[in-house]
Amino acid sequence: MNLNIITGIIFLILAPLIGGLIAGADRIVTARMQGRVGPPLLQPFYDVSKLFEKETMVVTTTQYVYVVAYIVFIAFTGALFFSGGDILLVVFALTLAHVFLIMGAYASRSPYSVIGAERELIMLMAFEPAIILCAAGMYLVSKSFFVRDIISYNGAIILLIPGLFFAFLYVFTMKLRKSPFDISTSHHAHQELIKGLTTDFSGSVLGITEIAHWYETVFLLGFIYLFFAFNPVIGIIALIVIYLLEIYIDNVSARVRWSFALKSAWIITAVLGIVNIGILFFRWW
């Protein structure tokens, strides 16, 4: 039990570093796919440190509170997950964190930020069923909602719930804010909504959002790792392949309309998820 708390603390310290490095590598690979040289690996850290040096110009002070709550809950989500906690609690803490982010965007009256917030809500609705079904699927396999039990399960979870895995991959693009689902905000200048959700965040507020995003990336990769927990080597390779796949998809697709994003996410989750869970159900009873 103590060991688990230590891994949680290690997550809190290392996740921003790993997440930032992943973001830096992401930018280099993206640049190469677009035929550019791209920024140095440490560029995300330079960016964030510059953001913290800037004068804080907040439109409304409540925004600051929401964004701090967002990072706290994201960090809590990850720490809970890595210390082997209850996966359902992890999922709901993640949702709560995003609700704070959306509230932060709503706090300013900019139309871009409000539309971005509305779209983020829609994305949340598209994302939620998939991750909950994944948690349920993992429970059906390992008979436990606790991450530490799932991770010590002897067997390839991916082989038992591949449908859920693909449903999760589909919504993973939304969480990484990449094309074709970079609808609420994205890392590039955004033609429809400028920076969407984060339009009115600036200086340290934006910096905090960015660090929270790194925490989230590491947490989500950790979640994907659960599918491959039976063999750490395969697990790490799978994570790298999946992330490269996400970058590739980002580079070969245009942005879709939000209605299509929601519809397709629900249909894929419903079909793949329910079929998969149904099969599991009959297999284990």
Partner: protein, 359 residues
Amino acid sequence: MSKQVVIPFGPQHPVLPEPLHLDLVLEDEKVVDAIPTIGYVHRGLEKLVEKREYPQYVYIAERICGICSFIHGMTYCQGIEGIMNLEIPKRADYLRTIWSEYSRMHSHLLWLGLFADAMGFESLFMNAWRLREHILDDLEATTGGRVIQGSCKVGGVRRDISSEKLDEMASGLDSMQGELHDLVNVFLRDSSVRHRLKGTGILSKDDAYLQGAVGPTIRASGHSYDTRKIGYAAYGDLSFEPVVASAGDSYARCEVRAKEMFTSIDIVKQAVKKIPDGPIDMKVTGAPDGEYFARSEQPRGEVIHYIKGNGTKFLARHRVRTPTLANITPLVTILKGCELADVPIIVLSIDPCIGCAER
């Protein structure tokens, strides 16, 4: 009837760095009316004819627009030559044609890139601009300027291209054609792109004609109208067919521009084969007295330079009707009835250049 709200679009909007303001009257998410306003960047360039001698004014005419600068300069020179009844050397006509087509390719590639960016397709945007770089390099090597060429003058052109360089340019375009095909393929075939473009902003054939649409905007609505067919410069000696599409939607306008680049490559290759030897300019003496409407086809459509001289070195009037000014009325028409989310794409699909619309 539901309540109407007015949403302002521009003059600053991330989709186009051009100061065009539209008051969009909305019923729910539908646009029922759009009222355009320009006039944020009026520079009074036409007024400057009273302050600069007519041969020097070429450099101002070129600066009306940054993208179609060469064709502006050329049309102005054609206007002066029209008044003074000058027959410029054939080689100069061919060189003007080659540079015009290079300008068209570079403008279309720029537009395709921006259009891809509007759809959130960054890598397509980067690739379009990477190809544009080949065109700009050739322009730089032959005229000395990448965007503002400054190679046209009254009575001819200012620089010659050696025959080796001409062959090199033609073979360069040949090797670029393969990559260009791949690029255009994405625009015309990719399902995520078609999903955004098909059926948005339809301009009917009659509307396009009566509202004075020009360039790719009218050609995408089924009219085979291309000012190059008048045969100015060397176009009369070269064979080409205007690219026409019939659907009249954003996809058709994208298609026309994409396919026009191949027509341009073909025209350049024909011109390189046929270009005669000889002088590239002639001595121009005296001053223009009279008036002339010079027309030519820009990447965005037909441009009119009206020039009125009064027998002195300073012109009495120079008036430019740029293609964007003519395309504003069709834009207003196609915006009616579209979804708010499609407005940026539709506005971009006519390739607006407000800076040159206002001069």
